[in-house]
Amino acid sequence: MKILVQSAAFDLAAEVAALYRANPKVGAMASFIGLVRDAAALTLEHYPGMTEKALEQIVHDACTRWNLLDATVIHRVGPLATSEPIVLVAVAAAHRGEAFAACEFIMDYLKTRAPFWKKERTAAGDHWVDAREADELAATRWAR
C-alpha cells in the first residue's frame, strides 16, 4: 500500500507499473485520475497527519471488502491549473471486478471522508468549493 499527499505531479505509468511489475498474480489494474475541470485554477488544502490517516483507513477498508493485491493513492495539494491531475487511485487485483469496485469505493470515500478542501480561483474571485450531496450519496451506497 502506498499513500502520498504531495504538491508534485505523479507519473501514472510508473505508479501503475510498480503495482503489477514483479507480481505475476496481478491480472487487473483499475486506475482513476481526477482532474481540475473547467476552472481557472484550484488550491487544495489538507490536514497533515489526519489526511494520510484517513486515506490509509479507506484503502484498508477496501482491502477488507475485496481481495486486492496492492493499491496506491496519491493526492496533490497546493495550487493546480486546469487539466492538471489532482488525485490518482490505482488498484491491483487478480480479477477486474474486484479492481473496479475497490477503485471506485476508494474514490467515493476519499471524496467524502478524507480532509481536503478546494478553493477555486475564477474571474469573479476566489471561493471555497461546496461539498456535493451527490458525493455523499455515492459513498453511502457502499454501506450494505
Binding site: 489538507h46 490536514y47 497527519g49 476519499l110 471524496k111 480532509p115 478542501w117 478546494k118
Partner: protein, 83 residues
C-alpha cells in the same frame, strides 16, 4: 483542560487563525462548540449548525457527544471537497 484547536479552509479564513490553544472545563465537543459560539460573530454564526461543519478529535471524526481530554487536538472544518 487544555485543548489544541485547529481550523481549516473556509473556517480558518473566517476565524482568522489556523489554530489556538484553549482552556476549557472538562466536557464534550458540544461543550466546546458552545464555548466558541459565546465569542459572538463569526463563531456564533459558523458553529450554529446552519452551515455544515465537521469536528475531528485527535484526527478521528467526532460527534457532539465525544468526550474531550487534556491535550486533545480538536479540528473544526467544512465538509471535505477533495478528489
Amino acid at each position: 483542560m487544555k485543548l489544541e484547536l485547529r481550523y481549516f479552509a473556509r473556517l480558518r479564513e473566517t476565524f482568522g487563525r489556523s489554530g489556538e490553544t484553549l482552556e476549557l472545563i472538562p466536557g464534550t465537543v458540544a461543550d466546546l462548540l458552545q464555548a466558541l459560539r459565546q465569542r459572538g460573530t463569526p463563531w456564533a454564526e459558523e458553529l450554529s449548525g446552519e452551515r455544515a461543519f465537521r469536528v475531528a478529535v485527535n484526527q478521528d471524526m467526532a460527534s457532539p457527544d465525544t468526550v474531550l481530554a487534556e491535550g486533545d487536538e480538536v479540528a473544526i472544518f467544512p465538509p471535505v471537497t477533495g478528489g
